[in-house]
Amino acid sequence: MIAGAPRLAAVGDEAAYKIHARLEGVTRVYPPRAGHAEVHALGPISFDLRAGEFFSVVGPSGCGKSTLLDVLAGLAVPSAGTVEFEGKPVHGEVPDGVGVVFQEDASFPWLTVEDNVAFGLRRAGVDAAESKRRVDFAVAFMGLRDFSRAYPSQLSGGMRQRVCIARTLVMQPRLILLDEPFGALDQQTRLLMGDELLRLWRETSATVLLITHALDEANLLSDRIGVMSARPGRFLDIVETGWPRDRDSRLAERADFGAVTSRLWSYLRGESLRALGQGTAAR
């Protein structure tokens, strides 16, 4: 860790398997709307997110991955079941200590990079000196120092996503939720961003939950991978990768790396076909 850098998260190192967030029997059903039947999007899903782990969720498109994230973040209310974060129930409001990064560009186009990153701190009333310290650190950490006075429109898609990650980082979240954050980026940029995400995870010791549709990405980044079925999404299995904490994209060169991806694909091949059929039928 960089000397003198502020500590970005505050999770105790006591129990190895401390439960950080818990979903129990969570379902999400969208009520029928004009011309559309009711949609059972998710669940029932039950699982525990362990403190400090990197957990990925993979699944066919439309399986409710993003709904799962919204429910966990408090952005959506489950139709049934309960969600807990650090022992307290989550219900339709984003709990303190949770940060979210979306797939779409969520940088504010009217603010500079610096002001974007400082957005949450200013709203939370963090004092100016502390705010500046954290912003400077996050901007440097995400490699944005040369662009701190730039506006998002002057940056590439990958850089804008870094701005969003930095904006989440300064709030010192204990749980970081990422909804396909690299979905709109090209493959090379994805790999680099993946490495940075791993570095961020190691150095903040936050818990990370990543939604992705890229099996290699999930494999490389995660301690555990939840494999979801086609709609209504449920976990078919939770795969433990067993990778060392200190890892990066060179992990893909290992002989046993491909075996995990193959295993994920063997689960998902049938589900993806089913999802494709659902998509066609819905048109």
Partner: protein, 259 residues
């Protein structure tokens, strides 16, 4: 969903709007009194009576003829100019700011010039109506031609279409929705221009009747004519809007973000 339901829904809004407008009119009448706003029922009766009168028809014909000629010029000329400006990049870049500036100035100040050039009467009204309507048609057509997705043209080449085939099967369907939107706005502005032309220094037409009614303080006639024009404008616009929506049915929704 059944077809009957759909027609019912399609007609519900216009009927509700018509009812509420008449209600609003009645309320205005109650507040302002007969000397300012006559009540809906007598006014509409007066309108009906007026339409039946022989002395009214020449005025109606004059305005309609002026409008239709202006509309033909605005649409035909506008599409033609728009295609040229859209097809030739530099010409378009030269012309666009001039057109936008012209759109945003009070064109009424140019009416005396048109009167001097064309003389009092039909040609001046037609020219003034067309001047209003042609600008949106040109701007929309130009943008439609400019924004044709280059991939469509490449796909056309890949399928070895002749230039004529590319024009008919690719360019026309790709630009038609936008061009039609321009025509719809051009329709409204041509009507506005024609009416403006008739309100000033005119000797015939609905606008002339409106102006003579001011001196007679003939509120009933003023309202009758204004309502007649509005009904025509709203009905035509609704029909054009329906076609417009139908043409745009394949277009992507504008709202961003995941549903």
């Amino acid at each position: 969903m059944s077809g009957g339901m759909l027609t019912l829904r399609a007609w519900r809004d216009p009927i509700l709007v018509a009812i509420s407008l008449v209600a609003l009119w009645q309320v205005l009448h109650e507040i302002a009194g007969d000397s300012a706003v006559t009540a809906p029922a007598p006014t509409l009766a007066h309108l009906w009576e007026m339409i039946g009168q022989a002395r009214f028809l020449p005025h109606l014909r004059e305005t309609s003829l002026a409008f239709l000629q202006a509309l033909a010029i605005a649409c035909g000329g506008g599409v033609l100019i728009g295609v040229v400006l859209g097809g030739h990049k530099l010409t378009g870049e030269v012309a666009e700011p001039i057109l936008v500036a012209l759109y945003s100035v009070p064109k009424i100040t140019l009416y005396p010039v048109i009167l001097l050039l064309f003389g009092l009467g039909m040609p001046a009204k037609v020219a003034f109506g067309a001047l209003h309507g042609i600008i949106p048609v040109v701007l929309f057509t130009m943008n439609a031609v400019r924004n044709v997705n280059r991939t469509y043209l490449r796909a056309g080449r890949a399928m070895r279409l002749t230039p004529a085939q590319t024009g008919w099967y690719v360019l026309v369907p790709a630009t038609l929705p936008e061009i039609f939107s321009g025509l719809r706005i051009g329709f409204s502005l041509t009507l506005l221009g024609t009416m403006l032309g008739e309100l000033f220094a005119s000797q015939r037409g609905l606008g002339f009747l409106l102006m003579t009614a001011i001196d007679l303080h003939d509120v009933k006639t003023i309202l009758s004519i204004a309502v007649l024009i509005s009904i025509f404008a709203i009905a035509a616009n609704a029909a054009l809007l329906a076609i417009d929506k139908h043409l745009h049915r394949g277009a992507a929704p504008e709202v961003s973000g995941k549903p």
